[in-house]
Assembly symmetry: C2
DNA sequence: CGCGGCTTTGATGTTCATCAAGTAAAGTGG
DNA sequence: CCACTTTACTTGATGAACATCAAAGCCGCG
């Protein structure tokens, strides 16, 4: 993990244009002055469940996973997030400590604001707070709906769902480097690693996908979609 | 479903004392004037997924379920809510239409405000909006955490979980009338009705619970807790 | 009274987890 | 840089967990 102070000068910062659309120029300067930007590398833990929350984070670039550990030390993956899904928002306004862990599954840039400063602005600027709320709602809606979808599928449908998720939603391509391990797929869809691998192998044998390690190429999308919807 | 106008005169209205703790007297009067109260009977649908959202609802009394239909017409139950869990908050600020259905599983009283009026207040009163956000976050945290817990259990653990949920969280008693059918338990925990019934019968044979139709009495809570944690 | 929905139990087969065992890849210390 | 350890990946065999199908009793309701 690499840390450093960078000024709030990113021309295309969506935080300004989108997230802070209802913040005045003075407020924006105020916020920018305290902004810190950090780089996390693949595998780094960004926030850890149980830790106290005193920063407000948003993902500027990269890809992260949201997860929780069971008592037996196994992980359950709740969701993946790319920039503007603003995962860190989840517990920020309901708890003093993180309910979930967030870790980078690709090299990621995170912008960090002091939580008290953000909360102060929220207390004074209702439109800003409404923007925040909209984002919290959207993020959680997505998590809940995605979970329901996975829940009603079988092993093969779930694996197909994950592949299509990365193809359609994350990389917008039929071929990509899978950013997560087989085990992480399993932790996400609630199946065993072995069966995830078996299913991927089967898809390969049936010429639905091509696999070289982490590299995935979707060869027959129609069929994969069929399997996802349920086959 | 029974409808009628009632003045905002409930002495113990938690909406006032808790939910609107940051609302001025004038605002409160404003809100109360447009308040409507409705009674829904067990089985009634309160909001239906797909319908447009133009009211702000909160549960004053009763018990409801939050659910979603699959394409094949089967239901998935997302959560149950008692007063102050404020289920209707979920999609209110992220969508124009309900993502989920809410229906009464016990006779329920619902207070209804015009959504535009509430949103207007939210736009002008940041503390009120923060209160709202806190509640949205708490409600969704609960849903996500509960879901993860169910996900990591097997059939028996899940059924035990549901029984303990109603005993500990809803009725605060070891004996109660189950407000939902066997099928609804199945829809909630993602198993088949038959296996839910089989599991309940097994618990009965093992003298962990007593069953008379919908009446449930937990006879051996320790063991039930053990099964829930996993056995 | 009969019909549909809820409940219950049993028999059967499918789906999936577990166990085992081996290969490949990646990190670690001398 | 190479031996060494660990972690990820892979496949097969077996059994457990669970869905599905079938049949029957029960209850409430029109």
């Amino acid at each position: 993990m690499n840390s450093g102070n960078i000024k709030c000068d990113c021309e295309d910062c969506k935080l300004k244009s989108l997230f802070f659309s209802h913040v005045t120029v003075d407020e924006l300067i105020d916020i920018c002055e305290i902004k810190e930007e950090r780089t996390y590398f693949k595998g780094d833990i960004i926030t850890k469940e149980g830790d106290s929350i005193n920063e407000f984070l948003y993902l500027k670039e990269g890809l992260v996973k949201l997860s929780k550990s069971t008592d037996e030390g196994k992980d359950q993956i709740i969701s993946f997030s790319k920039p503007f899904d603003f995962v860190s928002l989840l517990s920020v306004f309901s708890s003093d400590t993180y309910q979930y862990s967030v870790s980078a599954i690709e090299d990621s840039h995170v912008c960090i604001l002091d939580l008290n400063v953000v909360k102060n602005h929220a207390r004074q600027n209702a439109l800003f707070t409404m923007d925040l709320m909209k984002r919290v709602s959207e993020a959680t809606d997505k998590i809940v709906l995605d979970n329901l979808e996975i829940r009603r599928k079988h092993l093969k449908g779930r694996v197909a769902h994950v592949l299509l998720y990365f193809a359609n939603y994350i990389y917008m391509k039929e071929e990509f480097e899978l950013p997560i391990s087989r085990r992480e797929i399993a932790e996400y869809i609630g199946m065993t690693t072995e069966n995830v691998i078996r299913t991927l192998s089967e898809f390969r044998k049936d010429k639905i996908i091509k696999i070289f390690g982490k590299y995935i190429q979707i060869a027959d999308k129609k069929r994969l979609e069929n399997i996802s919807e349920f086959g």
